[in-house]
């Protein structure tokens, strides 16, 4: 039985039973805090937190990052979201985006909340926590972004 992934003629979505449970470091419950690192020499901020500055090899300090940003790009992934409620209100996948955080912050890749046709490059977004139960009943919280209110 081959596991080759050429399914170009299939209209069926692969059946998967659970959503991965390991994601997201540096988020708190309320209010949302995105933890990062700042290069002591350059001032550049990084996410997730680093042990050393990736540009100089020097020391870094803990910092908190902006929770708002600009959507650099996005896509809608046609893989099943197996939580009880889907992030985008549809059953055939979920949206993800790359977000440039404000204040010259780093770029993050995160799940996007909102209707699948509501995303556009350059739109303003803000961080939200997404709480859901996986198919096997485990509660999970991840960092997500949605259109900035107002």
């Amino acid at each position: 039985m081959t596991k080759a992934t050429d399914m170009t003629d299939s209209t069926e979505t692969p059946n998967r039973s659970k959503v991965p449970t390991s994601y997201g470091f540096g988020i708190d419950d309320e209010p949302i805090v995105i933890h990062g690192s700042q290069s002591d020499e350059l001032g550049t901020t990084y996410w997730p937190p680093r042990l050393r500055c990736p540009q100089t090899g020097g020391t870094v300090s803990d910092t908190t990052l902006a929770t708002t940003g600009t959507l650099w790009s996005w896509t809608f992934v046609h893989l099943p979201w197996s939580g009880e409620e889907t992030p985008n209100g549809v059953d055939d996948g979920y949206a993800v985006g790359l977000i440039d955080l404000d204040d010259d912050g780093p770029r993050l890749g995160m799940v996007l909340l909102g209707a699948p046709d509501s995303f556009e490059v350059g739109m303003r977004v803000e961080a939200r926590e997404l709480h859901f139960k996986t198919i096997d009943g485990n509660p999970q919280s991840i960092l997500a972004f949605e259109r900035l209110a107002g």
Binding site: A4, T8, R50, W74, L98
Partner: protein, 384 residues
């Protein structure tokens, strides 16, 4: 790092990728024997063996190649994600180019069906190794959406690239995708959506495969009375530098700065420029990659890649024939052997032995491959 001594491609071999079931052991021996026969060098003369695999269990490989001969030479396994084959070739080439060896062999192989590691496009499997919600197809699709916003690229352009590669594969008996009739842009666009704007026919399949290559020094040519046809003019290995928008999580491949740096360092090493290339093998796991890499390696200016596609300049009859064997999208991408399959194809193109898909015989051909993490290998093969 550049090559201190001349290195020549003496022989190449590969199994058909994908296709009917065939045990991986058989594919490895088939590809290896083809390379040995092609080289004219008896296997006992090979001084070191490099085995490339990114999906097999840790002990797989050395026992299989016992069928080639137990000669006591060093055997080293190499892994570098999708770039494993490029890395394996690079190590063999530099072993000879440094003057340490006169003959080295690189064999790479994988069978995703019996993989010992996760499927990178399966959101269940990849957690927690990679970003669990953003598989590779999502990252590349976000490149595509951004490109569409910046330069007005349309899904039709991505489909045109994939269509070219599907139809090139129809001319390659070793390609995984052997479509029985010509593939059209409409058919590519109409296949199942993976992640907007990439459909399934714009993405690489992952069947099993093996590929092999033997490289040698000028001294080896003299010893075995070989008339050389293909020289390795550049062998470059690079990784990412920090830049704006860098991502530390996920199966990221990029940014394209790494690709550009690897290519232009290779041009400098080989003493050529992008205008001298007559065939190019890309890491086209998703169609957007090939489009962006046209510009990254200097085939055209930024934003002009779409024109290159629609003007037919990347077709077999064009100025810059790309993915002539079908590329990842048509030939397939088992993972480990893909980089050596590129060398197999470009060696045949430079020799003029590529059959129905032969392009105007290139003096220089470039193989580009990247691996998650991210790393990039670029080789330039030159006719002798």
């Amino acid at each position: 790092m550049t090559l201190a001594n001349e290195v020549f491609v003496l022989g190449v071999g590969m199994s058909r990728f994908g296709g009917p079931y065939q045990p991986l052991d058989q594919r490895i021996i088939e590809a290896s024997l083809e390379a040995i026969d092609d080289s004219g060098v008896p296997f006992p003369e090979v001084q070191s063996l490099y085995l490339g695999t990114s999906l097999t269990a840790s002990t797989y490989g050395p026992p299989v190649v016992k069928d080639l001969g137990l000669t006591g030479i060093p055997i080293t396994r190499i892994e570098n994600a999708s770039a494993t084959g490029g890395a394996t070739f690079y190590e063999a080439v530099h072993a000879v180019g440094s003057g340490r060896l006169d003959l080295a062999m690189a064999i790479a192989f994988d069978d995703p069906a019996t993989s010992a590691v996760p499927d990178f496009n399966d959101v269940e499997d990849i957690s927690p190794i990679l970003d669990p919600f953003i598989p590779p197809m999502a990252f590349f699709s976000m490149w595509a959406v951004r490109r569409m916003a910046d330069h007005g690229t349309t899904p039709e352009t991505l489909a045109a690239i994939a269509t070219k590669n599907w139809n090139n594969a129809r001319l390659n008996p070793k390609a995984e995708r052997q479509a029985t009739e010509e593939i059209t842009v409409e058919r590519v666009l109409g296949s199942r959506m993976l992640a907007y704007p990439h459909t399934a026919r714009m993405a690489a399949p992952q069947g099993a495969g093996a590929a092999a290559v033997i490289v040698g020094s000028r001294k080896s040519l003299e010893r075995f009375d070989i008339t050389p046809t293909v020289r390795v003019a550049a062998a470059q290995a690079h990784s990412e530098r920090y830049g704006e928008g860098h991502l530390f999580t996920g199966a990221i491949i990029g940014p394209p700065e790494m690709v550009r740096r690897a290519a232009f360092t290779a041009y400098e090493e080989a003493g050529v420029g992008p205008e001298d290339l007559g065939a190019i093998a890309f890491h086209d796991a998703y169609a957007i990659e090939e489009l962006l890499y046209y510009e990254a390696i200097g085939l055209c200016e930024a934003g002009e890649g779409d024109r290159l596609v629609h003007d037919g300049e990347t077709a077999l009859t064009g100025r810059f024939p790309t993915s002539t064997d079908g590329g990842f999208i048509g030939r397939g991408h088992p993972s480990g052997p893909t980089g050596i399959a590129q060398i197999w194809e470009l060696t045949h193109q430079v020799r003029g032995t590529a059959g129905d898909r032969q392009v105007a015989k290139p003096s220089n051909a470039l193989a580009h491959i990247v691996g998650a993490g991210s790393v990039c290998y670029t080789h330039i093969l030159q006719s002798v």
